[in-house]
Amino acid sequence: MSPGGDGPALPPDVERQLEGTPPAEIAVSLATYNNAATVPAVVEAIRAGLEKHFAGVPAVLISADAGSSDATVERLAAAGLPVVRAAHEAPLAERAAVPFHGVPGRGAALRLAFAVARRLGARGLVVLEADVTSIGGDWLERLLRPVLEHGTDLVMPMYERHRYDGTITNLVLAPLVGALYGRRLHQPLAGARGLSGRLLDRLVADPGWPPAGRSMTDLWIEGITLAEGFTLREALLGRWRVESSTRSADLPAMVAETLGGIFGVMDIYEALWRDAVGGEAEAGAAPLLPSAEPVRIDVERMIGAFRHGLRDLGSIWEHVLAPETLGDVLSLPADGAERFRFPDPLWARVVYDFALGHHYRVVYRDHLLRSFVPLYLGRAAAFVIATARGDGAATAAALDAVSGAFEREKRYLVDSWR
């Protein structure tokens, strides 16, 4: 592979660093923002992983920092690996309210890291998260070996999770992405991933990167990968545990970012998803952690939030939801957990109507996204109610059914989309 040369011009200080940096086959990128507390452990796992699995292969660490005010960058440099340090301008809004992944301007960080990796001639790039402290020495290998030895272009992680972790991903994002791209992915917004030089070339050269300030880049990369015949695999990594001072814990904000991200991709990159069909996952279901701890989920409060939505947000929903969908939502038995259900086909239509409402800007988009929160809480409550007494397999089956409904209802979305 030859170094890609069509990407954006790199900042002068990065250019200067590249002049003194030897070519590398492996690049590892960390997008950072005030992660001084966790960076040493993450870098040590990278160093150990390289030494154990890729001894002797030239490697470089790319630091893409969003303007940390702590010792993050210095501690990265102390890792004993060749480091290229690049700083990028993060949108001000993302600094004031850092997105769920903890890094303002993640898209800019990725783009910079991709360009540097190609300039250094890397055959594979592993993107890791600087605040994920459960990283093991084998993560690097599992994300990279399929790229280097099996010609895989994109390796996505599957983490072991409690069955009620990731309800936004499991009930909204993954089914939607699966139906859109024709391929089920367990965690489309997982921050870690491995990319081939070929895919990097394709992406770096693309003039149409998603706009800054939206959580779209990761989903766009997956869309390109699947739509243009690149190969994708999922790799099991183990538990995902984060220690961060910057990740948002605001549920409505996370719902809005996640949904806004995928809706934005749908809006701008229609060709990536419109005609894709299929949906079966390559690997099996992501493993669920045994639910040793009792479920401490306040289903009644979630249904209460759903009821408040019914009461207060009807004036927004009636602009967004198709009349029969709104009617079905309004008649859900929301008086308590005993009888509360949220049928999958109705759920898929609700999400698709929100995507259409976002597309046609029927109401101010931020209001639209936030008005989705009570619906999500209602659906999540129904999911917990339906699976509380079942085992892991029953949970997996329930999630499969959600994905299936999204795939079957996709026609409705495509037909309504202009």
Binding site: A96, R161, L251, I297, D298, R301, S315
Partner: protein, 561 residues
């Protein structure tokens, strides 16, 4: 947050004050009626109203806009029938809205059969229902309230050839509450309406029930005893969720006794606040507003202040000092027609020159200061007034629904309307109406809906404590409201120019302000002064979120993605 069936629902409620005659005329006779009000309930529900306050709707010769009641047991025929009232009440309840009505307890019309019997026959059971005397010299220390029209509190009745006592107009004789039969008769009146499901009464002119020689005849202990008796009977017989709201146009420390130990009135109006809001805005100075709160005593926990910007009476200046009053006249009533008694008879919008920013800022204060807000009908769309209509009618003109004939209020002929609709070029119904503002997303009406919806998100507005911050810039009024672990920060700019402010928020260091109207996250508070800039008459409603506090978790938010 559903007001639901909580007994103290009034603490979270937004009230809306409305004249039946002025709201909507369903039968086309030129006077609004209960059927019209029933048709309008969807509008009020969408606005975000929790409780309607109906001005007097009883049979009356209407010499004082219904505050002169001639039969407590009927609805004024122009407004409909008892059955119409019942349909209205049931329809409001079906929408989770409550209804209270005005009840004049202090006096009746001189047309009331009780007074007719009292004046005509000294042996009648009603002979002592009113306060009679053979000379006009008793209770000489009591002031005359309506100084523009009344010379004395006594008027000679030629029939009985005695003087009768009246604190208001001479056609409104005061009831004699020293007479136990009068107290029972008034309780029976209350039972009659509460039995129909009414949620409470706004009691008119309560300080004046009892008279004693050598006193001002206001706020007497004997008056409180009567009111406590009413309260205990209502609580006992109706389960404790029916409310009594006091009209006592007094200083807060004098109103305070009307709350008793939580065993008298549930609510009382905060009269002095309102003129000070206008004063603070006009002087661009927060101190008139903060000062009045230092003069506001704490009230028992089941009790609540009722806050208002305008009501059907004039902007009351009784509650300001003479110097302030002169300034208020100068500022808000340059036209002599606008002065009446000791007040200014204008609606909200004309009082602030129809300046949207000032209208919104005043509403912001109304909705965020401690108490339950009371919106006067029409002010949510910025209706104007007609100062040439005489007495207080200038602010009681027909509700402006649309640009149809008579503002969509009535199908009657123009001459049949109880009052003409407003037609001037600025405030006329063609320029200011519900239909047009419904369609404009940024209209005052839609802004009011958003403000009310934001207020509904938190119980702090109705129930929280208040602490004023003291920034160096006195043009900024900023305060912290707290209730059960939730904290709100309200920052307002009383000035017509943009203002910077540094707030000492060190005690909230680590918390993140979330602007509640746009759900925008602001930078986290540190030890250093927190800098904000505000546009002309701008305001912020912040919820202060601390990592780890706030709502109980759902249990799914740790790693939802």
């Amino acid at each position: 947050m559903t007001p639901g069936r909580a007994r103290d629902w009034y603490k979270d409620a937004v009230f809306y004050e409305v004249h039946v005659k002025a709201f909507r005329d369903a039968n086309g006779d030129g006077v609004g009626d209960f059927a019209g009000l029933t048709e309008s309930l969807d509008y009020l529900q969408e606005l975000g109203v929790d409780c309607l306050w109906i001005l007097p709707m009883y049979a009356s010769p209407l010499k004082d806009d219904g505050y002169d009641i001639s039969d407590f047991y009927t609805v004024h025929p122009s407004y409909g029938t008892l059955e119409d009232f019942q349909k209205f009440l049931d329809a409001a309840h079906a929408r989770d809205m409550r209804v209270i009505t005005d009840l004049v307890v202090n006096h009746t019309s001189d047309q009331h059969p009780w007074f007719q019997a009292s004046r005509s026959d000294r042996a009648s059971p009603y002979a002592d229902y009113y306060v009679w005397n053979d000379s006009p010299n008793r209770f000489a220390d009591a002031r005359v309230i309506f100084v523009d029209t009344e010379k004395s509190n006594w008027t000679l009745d030629p029939q009985r050839n005695e003087y009768y006592w009246h604190r208001f107009f001479s056609h409104q004789p005061d009831l004699n509450y020293d007479n136990p039969a009068v107290r029972q008769a008034m309780l029976d009146v209350m039972r009659f309406w509460l039995d129909r499901g009414l949620d409470g009464f706004r009691c008119d002119a309560v300080p004046y029930l009892i008279e004693r020689e050598g006193t001002s005849c206001e706020n007497l202990p004997e008056t409180h005893a009567v009111l406590k008796e009413f309260r205990s009977v209502i609580d006992r017989e109706y389960g404790g969720d029916r409310i009594l709201l006091a009209e006592a146009n007094q200083w807060p420390e004098d109103v305070r006794p009307y709350f008793g130990d939580g065993d008298e009135f549930h609510m009382a109006f905060h009269f002095p606040l309102m003129p000070r809001l206008y004063l603070g805005l006009h002087l661009e100075d927060s101190r008139p507003i903060t000062d009045i709160f230092t003069h506001t005593p704490p009230i028992p926990s089941p009790c609540q202040w009722g806050l208002f910007l305008r009501n059907h009476d004039e902007l009351t200046l009784e509650m300001v000092t003479n110097e302030e009053r002169a300034f208020m006249y100068y500022a808000y009533a340059r036209d002599r027609e606008m002065k009446l008694n000791l007040g200014i008879r204008r609606r909200l919008a004309p009082l602030v020159d129809n300046d949207r920013r000032r209208i919104e800022l005043l509403n912001c204060l109304l909705l965020t200061l401690p108490g339950s807000p009371i919106i006067y009908y029409g002010d949510e769309i910025g209706m104007g007034d007609n100062v040439y209509l005489g007495d207080r009618n200038g602010v009681r003109t027909p509700m402006q629904w649309s640009r149809d004939r008579h503002a969509g209020f009535s199908r009657a002929e123009a001459v049949e309307l109880f009052l003409p609709v407003i037609t001037d070029p600025v405030y006329g119904y063609e320029a200011v109406n519900v239909a047009a503002q419904t369609r404009q997303p940024a209209s005052l009406l839609n802004t009011m809906r958003r403000l009310l919806a934001a207020r509904r998100k938190s119980p702090v507005f109705g129930r929280g404590s208040i602490d004023f911050l003291r920034p160096h810039n006195a043009r900024i009024l900023a305060y912290v409201r707290r209730y059960e672990g939730e904290t709100l920060l309200i920052v307002t700019n009383l000035s017509a120019a943009p203002q910077p402010v540094e707030l000492d928020l060190a005690r909230f260091a680590g918390a993140t302000p979330i602007e509640m109207l746009g759900d925008t996250v602001f930078p986290t508070i540190r030890q250093a002064p927190y800098f904000l800039s505000l546009g002309p008459h701008g305001f912020y409603w912040f919820r202060l979120d601390r990592p780890g506090d706030g709502d109980e978790p759902y249990g799914i938010e740790a790693t939802p993605i």
